[in-house]
């Protein structure tokens, strides 16, 4: 129930922050306003299990959404769109997409889903075909759902950011197209998310939520432009030196970095962007296994490959992803994300299993610390 006298909807339309209710109303999608009002007043969602809808030739990406109040809103099916790399859009296409959605569906669009895809909400089943035909004309493909290689996401990378150690957009395009059939046709134990960040700042939070995270990184030293450094106030530089987590920096008018102690956490580079920049021997770190809720709780991704060159056509990275998928396809239980399968089977066993195919060897970069418990097996 609303705390004040007004209806919850009126309350949520007001305020300084732009209101989603006003957007729904502007699109004329009153069914959604009403079903949402009822949910807030009743304290429970009125959406129920919807199942898959799909499209001929596709087995994922269009998700059924049904409610338990069909007299208010019977369905509000969700049409996922594969977003362009880095969420860059040309206005002419985006405008056309909006017009198509207005014509064939609710005219309400979610920018974007947690996965990174664009979500067009509220399409009647009978309009799906026409809508997709028109979307295909402006090259917007269906996204993904279910036990697939999900639609990728990546940061802006080299398009606008000087910190990019890897070409996130090009890698996105190449890897997305390589796995496009697996994006639209479920065949794995569960979903598999790939996310690409250009540097360890990890703007797409790949480490937090990707089954397979590609994080741009560099191997050599941080580049220091001493002259540009002089343009910053000394106190600012001293503060950065003080707050370095590894204590690998010294400053006496000139900045010295002991690279063997540096973990390239990006902190100093972020704080002094005019003077410091990533090294020139660039590539990526590959991490594996993140997920939020699951049988064993939440996982953050851990290191699989400490450093790999990431150059077109990214064959080595794609080979590793394929080896991981093949292993997981065989070993994974239904509804088990790859990190959980690895946890259940054991990371050493996983590494042994994929080692021959990928050339990945166990190394101390993969762990925070070695085991403290004395239980292991010499069987293998």
């Amino acid at each position: 129930m609303s705390e004040g006298g007004d209806s919850v909807i009126e309350e949520l339309e007001r305020g300084k922050w732009p209101s989603y209710i006003r957007e729904w109303k502007r699109a004329g999608y009153t069914g959604m306003v009403e079903i949402y009002r009822r949910a807030l007043e009743d304290g429970r969602t009125h959406f129920v299990h919807g199942g898959m809808i799909g499209y001929p030739g596709y087995d994922s990406g269009i998700v059924g959404r049904l409610t338990d109040l069909p007299e208010v809103l019977e369905s509000s099916h969700l049409f996922r769109i594969y977003e362009p790399a880095g969420w860059f859009y040309r206005a002419s296409e985006l405008r056309r997409l909006a017009e198509i959605w207005k014509k064939h569906a609710s005219g309400v669009i979610n920018f974007h889903g947690a996965q990174g895809d664009m979500q067009l909400v509220g399409i009647p089943r009978e309009n799906i075909q026409k809508a997709f035909e028109e979307l295909a004309e402006i090259h917007f493909d269906i996204g993904s759902s279910g036990a697939t290689v999900r639609t990728l996401s990546c940061c802006s990378g080299p398009a606008i950011c000087e910190l990019a150690c890897a070409d996130t957009l090009d890698m996105f395009q190449t890897i997305a197209m390589h796995f496009i059939e697996d994006t639209h046709r479920p065949r794995f134990p569960y979903k598999f998310k790939i996310k690409i960040s250009g540097c360890p700042n990890d703007c797409v939070a790949a480490t937090a939520r990707a089954d397979f995270a590609i994080v741009g990184n560099f191997r050599d030293g941080i580049r220091v432009d001493q002259e540009a450094l002089g343009e910053y106030p000394a106190e600012r530089v001293e503060e950065v030196v003080r707050s370095c987590p590894t204590g690998c920096m010294e400053y006496d008018g000139e900045l010295r970095i002991r690279m063997q102690d540096c973990t390239r956490c990006m902190h100093c580079i972020n704080r002094l962007p005019k003077a410091l920049s990533p090294g020139e021997d660039r590539g990526a770190t590959l991490l594996i296994g993140a997920r939020s809720r699951g049988r064993y709780g939440a996982f953050l991704a851990w290191v699989l490959v400490p450093f790999i060159k990431a150059e077109p056509p990214y064959r080595e990275i794609i080979d590793i992803i394929e080896a991981v998928l093949e292993w997981w396809d065989e070993k994974g239980n239904p509804k088990e994300r790859v990190g959980e399968t690895i946890y259940r089977v054991g990371y050493p066993k996983f590494l042994a299993d994929i080692g021959e195919k990928t050339g990945i060897k166990p190394s101390p970069e993969m762990i925070q610390k070695p085991r403290a418990n004395p239980f292991w097996s010499y069987r293998r």
Binding site: E3, L12, E23, Y36, Q129, T207, A208, Y296
Partner: protein
């Protein structure tokens, strides 16, 4: 039934190519940017090796946009940015303008349309949240109205690039599925259930797979029902109300308006800066739902953010600050009553217990 309008070799054409979607200034300076600096809240100046400049103008959106609003935003892009626009990884809208003056004019236009310009620097970053009760059957709480309530409360902190010692990332999830990296956010609000689900035998028998349900349960609380193996029964002592079974089977009702609500977690981050990625940790196990204003929740977040603002060192993320001063001190400073539910009792719990005597005395 739908016909097959596209032939098989026309399917799977994938996302639009990024080269067609990049503003000309980004194409010209691709991979050749030199540095960036914050001009003011919501505007970032990028300088390329060629000397060319670009100005990112960032504004908050309400996640859902109507087609007409999208068209208006496209018009702005055509007027100021050669017909290109982008969204950010935190779901802001962003325009890349060629000079400071058009960036400022564009910012003014966005504000006039009701989109707050900000989200850069040490501010409250855009809140990541799921669609909850507007579109999802799993929601235990409505993250949309929670995000709106938090935005209203911290509106100026979104616009101010020097609002906090370091950036603050808030994420809101309607349920334990945690859509949107809530487990790695400075402040996370997560919808929770607090009672075991109710099994509706007739539905389970008709549409659900008993073996799948039994296997899905993380605590082995589900077993075939005695006397009726086509349905299941739940050991209420073992159930942790996670809702995984409901996600598989609509006959296992988990929603309970009397007892559902939200939990509050702090100190997570995904970035590798300084401390590296951290999990958010539970500080308040339950806050009752108070849509649409969520006063108790918003008040608690306010208290935490003010304590952080006053006590943390410049450059210190929430989790880094708490790790430095100690969680025991954090609970006292933020005046949060410690609950036994904050003590982990799951698989990885032992690592979180205090070893030795190195803690701060109350």
């Amino acid at each position: 039934m739908m016909e097959m309008p596209l032939s098989f070799d026309e399917l799977d054409f994938g996302p639009p190519h990024y080269r067609d979607m990049l503003p000309p200034v980004c194409r010209r300076n691709y991979g050749k940017w030199k540095y960036h600096e914050h001009v003011r809240g919501g505007i970032i100046r990028h300088v390329a090796e060629s000397g060319e400049e670009a100005y990112s103008v960032r504004a908050g959106i309400p996640k859902y946009l109507s087609a007409d609003t999208v068209i208006e935003l496209c018009e702005l892009a055509e007027r100021y940015c050669e017909g290109y626009l982008k969204f950010t990884s935190r779901h802001n809208i962003e325009f890349i303008a060629g000079d400071r003056e058009s960036a400022e004019r564009l910012a003014g236009e966005l504000e006039r349309l009701g989109f707050p310009v900000g989200g850069t620097g040490r501010c409250l970053k855009a809140i990541i949240h799921c669609v909850a009760m507007s579109h999802c059957h799993m929601a235990a709480a409505d993250s949309l109205s929670i995000a709106k309530a938090l935005y209203e409360e911290f509106y100026e902190d979104f616009r101010n690039p020097e609002a906090f010692p370091e950036r603050v990332k808030i994420a809101v999830s309607g349920c334990l599925n945690m859509c949107g990296a809530t487990h790695a956010s400075d402040i996370a609000v997560i919808g929770v259930h607090r009672r075991p689900p109710v099994v509706e035998d007739a539905v389970v028998e008709k549409v659900c797979s008993v073996p799948e349900l039994v296997k899905s349960c993380p605590t082995y609380a589900i077993r075939p029902k005695r006397g009726n193996p086509r349905s299941v029964e739940i050991d209420e002592e073992k159930c942790v109300y996670c809702g995984i079974c409901y996600s598989l089977c609509e006959g296992i009702r988990i929603h309970d308006p009397e007892n559902d609500g939200v939990s509050l977690w702090v100190g997570g981050k995904a970035s590798n800066t300084r401390a590296g990625p951290l999990f958010a940790r539970l500080v308040v196990p339950y806050i009752k739902p108070e849509q649409p204003r969520w006063s108790t929740l918003v008040g608690t977040v306010r208290r935490i953010l003010e304590v952080y603002r006053q006590n943390a060192r410049r450059g210190e993320r929430m989790g880094e600050w708490i790790e430095r001063i100690g969680w025991e001190r954090f609970f006292r400073l933020a005046e949060i009553e410690f609950s036994e539910k904050c003590i982990d009792d799951w698989i990885f719990s032992v690592e979180t217990f205090r070893r030795g005597t190195n803690f701060k005395m109350p």
